[in-house]
């Protein structure tokens, strides 16, 4: 364009005078429009209200009933504690968990537990958490000793991504459960039976002893009543089996093939890591696309020294971590074989956490200096977080002295 040789085009929308006049009136007219508006403050925000109902930061609960499921497993029925401000329970998707916040021996910690009741029961006013006592379980030992009817419990909103999605998953759902990994499948089974989810669920449930099977009678009954919606196969790894219709050993490819339409199913796996490792090997034979196999987060790693690339020479070491959290700066000890999150909790710094599996990112913190080990098979950090030294303390292990900045818990 050669502007100088060309006469400039000048637009006229209404008329030259009207256009220019309208321009000069822009500011005064806007002011007038403001002055004429209502002076009534806005009091409602329904979308944020719905967001808080679905995803409350905290739920104040209390135990209304305790059911002994097996020798080592109990179901805790939790109801809202209106005195502390929780009037109703957040609805959820079958398979989600609650992160409990508990003070154990004066130290504030969190633990995730899958909800075993159905979503519609949350609307009726309760969640069930079915918890198995672990041999050296820091929290479960505390729970067995302390939780009684009317004990108060603080939890997060429903969390996690281990749920059926009709746009993604096939209607034949195979749940592979080990031990207390059965809990999310009870919720899913109930949601399917209630007609909330259009799917058919086959559960392969591995237990080491007959006495360890949770929900045995209930599943048997439901299976009989809803044969087109639910099927359960117990797989027992003990030597002597007295129950009818059980498989023995582990959940092998042969067992999977015997009971499931492998090529037309979506597999959901929830159980201890050792079971997951076994099952995933078995499933490899079927060459299923990755999208057909979904797994619940592992939870805490118990044997980090066996992970690929972990520097074994630091195994016995305890390092120092200089922590900034809010206005507190503190130096704390940290064992190489325990996650940075555990070190923070031991020091009673009340750090944020939810999934404790490296996945949710709620504990995301800044590594100012030092080196950490993150297992390459469960590294859920974002690309830019890796670049700018943000890390997830729940799945990171100190392999030198560290300096870190941790956000305060919500």
């Amino acid at each position: 364009m050669n502007e100088e040789n060309k006469e400039k085009f000048v637009i006229t929308v209404k008329s030259n005078t009207k256009d220019l006049f309208a321009f000069t009136k822009l500011v005064p007219n806007r002011r007038k429009r403001f002055e004429k508006a209502s002076s009534e403050p806005i009091k409602s925000d329904p979308i944020n209200d719905l967001a808080r109902k679905l995803h409350p930061e905290r739920q104040y609960l209390k135990i209304s009933e305790i059911i002994d499921e097996t020798e080592s497993a109990k179901t805790f029925k939790l109801i809202p504690d209106p005195e502390l401000g929780t009037k109703g329970l957040a609805y959820f998707r079958a398979g989600q968990y609650l992160s409990l916040k508990e003070i154990v021996n004066g130290v504030e910690i969190t633990r995730p537990y899958s909800i075993s009741s159905s979503p519609s029961e949350a609307l009726e006013g309760f969640y069930n958490l079915t918890i198995r006592k672990e041999e050296h379980g820091f929290l479960t030992n505390y729970i067995w000793d302390n939780w009684k009817v009317s004990t108060k419990v603080v939890s997060s909103g429903p969390e996690g991504f281990f749920y059926f999605d009709p746009l993604r998953d096939l209607k034949n759902v195979v749940g592979i459960a080990g031990g207390s990994g059965i809990t999310p499948f009870r919720s899913l089974a109930k949601a399917i039976i209630e007609g909330k989810i259009d799917a058919k669920l086959s559960i392969l449930y591995g237990s080491s002893e007959e006495d360890d099977i949770i929900f045995y009678e209930e599943f048997k009954k439901l299976e009989k009543e809803y044969p087109d919606k639910l099927k359960i196969i117990h797989v027992l790894s003990c030597d002597v089996v007295s129950l009818d219709g059980c498989e023995t050993g582990f959940i092998t490819a042969e067992i999977i093939e015997k009971y499931c339409d492998v090529k037309n199913s979506t597999f959901f796996i929830c159980g201890p890591q050792i079971m997951y490792d076994f099952v995933i090997k078995q499933l490899e034979r079927f060459e299923l696309p990755q999208k057909r196999i979904r797994r619940e987060a592992f939870g805490e790693i118990k044997d980090i020294i066996n992970y690929p690339g972990f520097p074994k020479e630091v195994t016995e070491k305890t390092f120092k971590i200089k922590v900034q959290i809010g206005n507190v700066t503190k130096e704390i000890p940290a064992r190489a074989t325990e996650s940075v999150l555990v070190a923070l909790e031991r020091a009673n710094l009340a750090p944020p956490s939810k999934c404790r599996s490296g996945e949710c990112g709620f504990c995301r913190s800044l590594l100012i200096s030092g080196d950490i080990y993150v297992s390459p098979i469960s590294d859920w950090r974002k690309a830019a977080d890796k670049k700018f030294n943000y890390f997830h303390p729940c799945y990171s292990y100190p392999i030198s002295d560290l300096e870190i900045k941790v956000p305060r818990h919500l």
């Binding site: 364009m1 400039k8 085009f9 637009i11 006229t12 929308v13 256009d19 220019l20 309208a22 321009f23 009136k25 822009l26 500011v27 806007r30 002011r31 429009r33 403001f34 002055e35 004429k36 508006a37 209502s38 002076s39 403050p41 806005i42 925000d45 329904p46 979308i47 944020n48 719905l50 967001a51 679905l54 995803h55 609805y91 998707r93 519609s120 609307l123 009709p166 746009l167 993604r168 696309p289 990755q290 999208k291 809010g326 206005n327 507190v328 009673n348 009340a350 944020p352 990112g361 995301r364 974002k382 690309a383 830019a384 977080d385 700018f388 943000y390 956000p407 305060r408 818990h409 919500l410």
Partner: protein, 522 residues
């Protein structure tokens, strides 16, 4: 509050407190910290960025909201954001140019269009002339005016919103004469053929107002800027540059606290005294830059309520809150090539902007979507044999008001399914069978993570009466509390990445000028 939390409380004083680490809050904090101010940036979420973020599901890292930034540009033609980041902040962000402006598909049988438009004003014009013979002259005039508008804005910035009227009238006549009008009015005046308008205006959904309502000035400038600079995106998703800004703020000595929600802005006699937070912090400051909207600040945060000026509430009430977002994020187990997706950016519309805007008032699959196949701009954004597709549409927030928690998932899945099918039919590809990961964000999701009023992702609607020019010329008149500035999508420049990034910088410059005048900064 537990014992630990009480110990961790922050009770310091700061030159400036910034509320919210969205794009505007981040740039405000960076500019202030760079200039030596003692800065505290507070964010209620545990990540920077607000809408400008990312999230990981399975083996995919999804972009939350950005389709393309328009004021970045190449080395040879640097946009304002590039200059701010690279020249001022010395911050290098890995950005790539997206391959084409857009592929526009209008499915309405009466006005069918399927065209892929290139970046570059001249080649865009050539292509448009090819599609609509005889439109060139009128569209050229449109671009000439758009360029004049951009120059006028630079003049406005230079004169800090106090332009010499003589210069305006002489040099920027077209800018003045089009300012009071809608895009429709001006484009009709220019005689741009209907079909050419449809193709030219595809970006309209980025502003979220139909052509018969959106201010011409901003709209014309937006199109021109996209075509002139090209669209750019960060390689590591929006989280890539917001985390880079986070690092820069700390490098300049600024402090950031996540998980910390401002609950009160303490005001006395029209002046800021400090803030209080959800963590029990009581922080002294005389200056606040708020990335939270005037709606939230004047209705919820100012304490005591008697310090809220009546006119501030009236201003909020006079305006229409912009639209809320709805996004379907898909991680697919087939490459873009295998799927047959050649373009990065798709606009699929079943009719006019008015018709689509209208469809956002109903709780059903809307009549339009803007969809991105990320791999066609960043080939390795996901593993080989996979791809990332995200479908964006909008809603008037109020249509979500009566949704019950137990119906929420089914509802969003139903709308998402409709959008996926709309895409499959329009492009002639099959997506559904490849879904490995899916996440659906609704207005509720945006509210959950950012606490934006009613889940809105766009600021106040930009009609001619409240156009950016009227806002610029009212800058001082719009300020009601000494020491309080706004940044972000609800600020004077309106929404969108460039606007919110720029607004934070401008708010910081105002605050720096004030701090200098007071002798706090040299």
């Amino acid at each position: 509050m537990s014992e630990q939390n009480a110990e961790q409380t922050i009770n310091d004083s700061y030159d400036v407190v910034i509320i919210g680490a969205g794009n505007g809050g981040l740039t405000a904090a960076t500019t202030l910290a760079m200039n030596g101010a003692k800065v505290l940036l507070l964010e209620q979420h545990n990540l920077p960025g607000g809408f400008a973020s990312s999230f990981v599901r399975g083996r995919f890292e999804f972009e939350t909201s950005l389709h393309e930034m328009d004021e970045f540009g190449p080395e040879s033609n640097q946009g304002a954001v590039k200059r701010l980041f690279e020249k001022r902040y010395n911050l290098n962000i890995d950005m790539v140019r997206v391959p084409e402006a857009y592929r526009l598909i209008i499915t309405d049988p009466e006005n069918k269009v399927d065209v892929t438009m290139p970046f570059g004003v001249e080649i865009f014009l050539d292509k448009l002339e090819e599609e609509v013979p005889g439109c060139r002259e009128s569209v050229q005039k449109f671009f000439d005016i758009a360029l004049e508008i951009r120059n006028a804005f630079q003049y406005f910035m230079k004169t800090r919103g106090r332009p010499d009227q003589q210069v305006l009238f002489k040099e920027y006549t077209n800018f003045l004469k089009t300012a009071p009008y809608t895009t429709q009015e001006v484009q009709d005046t220019l005689g741009i053929p209907k079909k050419a308008q449809d193709i030219l205006n595809a970006y309209w959904c980025y502003l979220g107002l139909p052509m018969n309502r959106v201010t011409f000035t901003l709209f014309a400038m937006m199109i021109f800027t996209y075509l002139d600079f090209g669209g750019y995106i960060p390689i590591n998703r929006s989280h890539g540059f917001t985390t880079a800004l986070d690092a820069k703020i700390r490098e300049f000595g600024g402090r950031i606290e996540y998980n910390t929600k401002v609950e009160k802005i303490i005001v006395e006699n029209g002046k800021i005294l400090g803030i209080e937070t959800s963590k029990g912090d009581k922080i002294k400051t005389h200056n606040i830059i708020s990335n939270a909207s005037p709606t939230l600040v004047y209705n919820n945060l100012i304490y005591p309520k008697s310090e809220v000026p009546e006119i501030a509430i009236k201003e909020v009430n006079a305006r229409i809150h912009g639209l809320a977002g709805f996004v379907v994020y898909l991680g697919l187990d087939a490459s873009a090539d295998e799927l047959g997706l050649k373009e990065y950016s798709y606009f699929i519309m079943d009719g006019t902007s008015e018709k689509i805007y209208e469809s956002w008032s109903k709780l059903q699959t809307p009549a339009g979507q803007a969809t991105v196949c990320l791999n066609n701009a960043i080939p390795n954004c996901s593993l080989p044999g996979t791809s990332i597709l995200f479908i964006t549409t909008l809603f008037k927030p109020e249509v979500w008001f009566d949704v019950q928690p137990e119906d929420y998932v089914d509802l969003k899945n139903k709308i998402a399914k409709g959008l996926i099918e709309q895409f499959e039919i329009a492009i002639g590809v099959s997506v559904k069978e490849h879904i490995e990961e899916i996440e659906i964000a609704t207005p509720v999701t945006f509210a959950r993570f950012t606490r934006t009023y009613n889940g809105g992702i766009y600021g106040y609607e930009m009609e001619p009466w409240d156009s950016i020019i009227a806002r610029f010329m009212s800058m001082e008149g719009d300020k009601h509390i000494e020491g309080l500035e706004f940044a972000g999508g609800y600020g004077s420049r309106g929404h969108g990445y460039n606007s919110s990034i720029g607004s934070g910088n401008v708010a910081a410059l105002y605050t720096i000028a004030k701090l200098k005048k007071e002798g706090v900064l040299k």
